[in-house]
């Protein structure tokens, strides 16, 4: 009798719908957290290698084979460091800020499809959900900057507030142009609509413009050079996270890279078809060959391509000034994306896209 007990347990677990849901949730959480950790380690390593190559350096090369374990060692160092809280600071808010930032970054993973059927939550309003959740991080940044009781942190946080609130608009408007083309906010539906070609090829010039605007505005959203005013190293030492150290600093840094991944994943999904292989119209043979490459490779490849472009920006351009930053948004990106949205709407209504 005893030897079938495990089987019984297994049967009980697999048949009870509530328990299955709990199991699913637990598994998802574990999966997301490990994904985030691995992504952080990998992206920081990639950033350092890309930067090194662009500056004709070697980059990390001491820990592990060609420095692959360098970020692991750095993280270990950060984790063992003392979490320092400045005197006079608002202790509770100071503690809460990195948690909010990292939470918002992780939440944005929910609706992103990694491969066919591999999605944490097939949300009907996925395109709306990602920027909505991602922009919660500005609250964390503002809290951290305010609670630090440091003038540099405060200026950095205020800059970040102005910046993210403005650039949210352009990000949203350029996302809307794809929503207009597909008529859906569901990521999976959007991907399926690109079965006969990605939107960047199908949607004529307006989609290319909207992709460029999305790239620029989202670079600003995730606080990266040339828009890294909130942590401008040469101006504000480290901006809003000047006073953070140890694991709390690690959370801020991790959130930056996770956000970068999410933004790139969204761009890859909307403009490059996510896990959809490269299909060209009715070339059946070509499409069939492309189908042999698994979807997850397509997805990761496209995402890394977008990440590489964002890194390319960072290691080429100087930083903007705060008034130029707002000028760029309100005088250039915003009007252009509005006109562009109009063009996309016309294209959709007339059915001019492929």
């Amino acid at each position: 009798m005893l030897h079938i007990l495990p089987l019984l347990f297994f049967q009980y677990f697999t048949t009870n719908p509530e328990l299955i849901l709990v199991l699913k949730v637990v598994l998802s959480i574990v999966a997301v957290i490990s994904l985030v950790a691995v992504l952080g380690l990998f992206l920081i390593y990639m950033e350092r290698k890309v930067a090194a190559a662009m500056q004709l350096r070697l980059g990390p090369n001491r820990v592990g084979y060609i420095g692959t374990l360098q970020t692991m060692a750095d993280t270990l160092k950060l984790l063992t460091k003392e979490g320092f809280t400045p005197g006079e600071s608002d202790k509770f808010m100071f503690f809460l800020a990195p948690v909010i930032v990292i939470t918002s970054a992780v939440l944005a993973f929910a609706p992103i499809p990694f491969a066919k059927g591999y999605q944490f939550w097939n949300l009907e309003i996925g395109v709306f959900y990602v920027p909505a959740v991602a922009s919660i991080s500005v609250i964390g940044v503002l809290m951290g900057g305010w609670a630090s009781n440091n003038k540099y942190s405060l200026i950095g946080a205020m800059r970040s507030g102005a910046q993210i609130v403005s650039y949210e608009l352009s990000v949203g408007l350029s996302l809307v142009s794809i929503v207009v083309l597909t008529g859906s906010m569901n990521f999976t539906t959007i991907i399926m609509s690109q079965e006969n070609g990605w939107w960047i090829f199908k949607g004529h010039i307006p989609v290319v413009i909207s992709f460029v605007i999305f790239l620029i505005a989202s670079t600003a959203e995730i606080n990266r050079t040339p828009f890294d005013l909130s942590e401008a190293e040469s101006e504000l030492t480290a901006g809003f996270h000047t006073e953070y150290s140890g694991i709390q600093l690690a959370m801020f840094l991790l959130a930056e890279y996770v956000n970068m991944f999410v933004i790139s994943a969204v761009a890859a999904t909307l403009y490059f078809g996510g896990w959809m292989p490269l299909h060209i119209g009715h070339w059946e043979a070509f499409n069939h060959i492309m189908n042999f490459i698994p979807g997850v490779i397509w997805f990761v490849g496209k995402t890394l391509f977008v990440i590489f472009i964002i890194m390319w920006f960072r290691w080429t351009f100087p930083r903007l000034r705060i008034d130029q930053l707002l000028n760029l948004e309100w005088k250039y990106l915003m009007p252009i994306s509005l006109v562009n949205l109009l063009l996309v709407t016309i294209i959709t209504l007339m059915g001019w896209h492929f």
């Binding site: 004709l56 205020m158 401008a232 190293e233 040469s234 100087p318 930083r319 000034r321 705060i322 130029q324």
Partner: protein, 372 residues
Amino acid sequence: MQPTVEVLNERDYILNVGPQHPSTHGVLHLRIKIEGETILDVEPVLGYIHRSIEKMSEALTYRQFIQMTSRMDYLSAHMNNLACALAIENALQVEVPDKVKYIRTILCELTRLASHQLWWAANGLDLGAVTPFFLAFRDREAITDIFEEVCGSRLTMNYIVPGGLMEDVPEGFADKIKTYLDTFERTLSEYDQLLTGNEIFRGRNIGVGVLTKEEALAYGCTGPVARASGLSCDVRKWFPYEMYDKLSFEEIILTEGDSYARYKVRIAEMYQSIKILRQLLDGIPEGDFQAKVKKIIKLPAGEFYQRVETARGEFGVYIVSDGKSSSPYRIKFRSPGLSNLAALPFMTKGAKIGDLIAVMASLDLVIPDIDR
């Protein structure tokens, strides 16, 4: 021009930039009064790296104190040494051989190139672009290698001594510089590609930190800072020393007076330095590397002043000798950085915090030079 406004007011928002700050290039301390992002007032606070070089020099002999000057403006070490050597030679009325003059001028122009390269590197870094830093250091590294072969040091040389040079230049000195200049002329165009034309860089610099000619004159600004404001002040032209009166080169003068003009002056000066070097390298005469100067130098009683053009502007050495001892009675250095920094509050009033950094980068400050 009103004097600097009282900065400490109870209700003002004061931000201390420095003495430990990534873009003050050392230990400069600026107390800035801000309202939001706008700067209302700037007050430079000095004294964090004061080593009393002037006072220390009074206890050292004329040969000994020269090595201290390498540690003031360490990016113009050769020029500083040259100024001291020239002052002593003029006092002693020693005529150095032609070869020495040639080599001294070559070394000075190489130093100017190296200094401007480092300024370009730091300028990019201050504005948030990291890649220029490495590209400029690539070029600067080759110059420091040449210095290492010639002088044995890479930064704080003590090669130009009263009466000539420490030792003769090594074999193949001119050829090595010639090959270097050929490669550098090619890479110099990358500088324009990466920063000069870049729209963000132009936006950050054009019209920022404007210094008028009158202000430049009133504050004793020299070097590229003054020349960008339309003030002709090149010591190499006005008070030629060594080979400069026999060379053909232009004094770069622009009239805009903003950060971008200062940037362009320095870039153009690099081309001029290359031109000067090319003229000199072919005709280095044979000869001795030292004139006859006594081991223990004693200057005649009197006051001696010698100015040279360093990468930052006019550097002057003022020596008072009592005629009896073998060390100076009083020594005073006129450093270009101090005067250029003095104009900073006028250039940044009403600007943004980011502009302050851009303007400081365009001033090319070396703090140990300001605070001797």
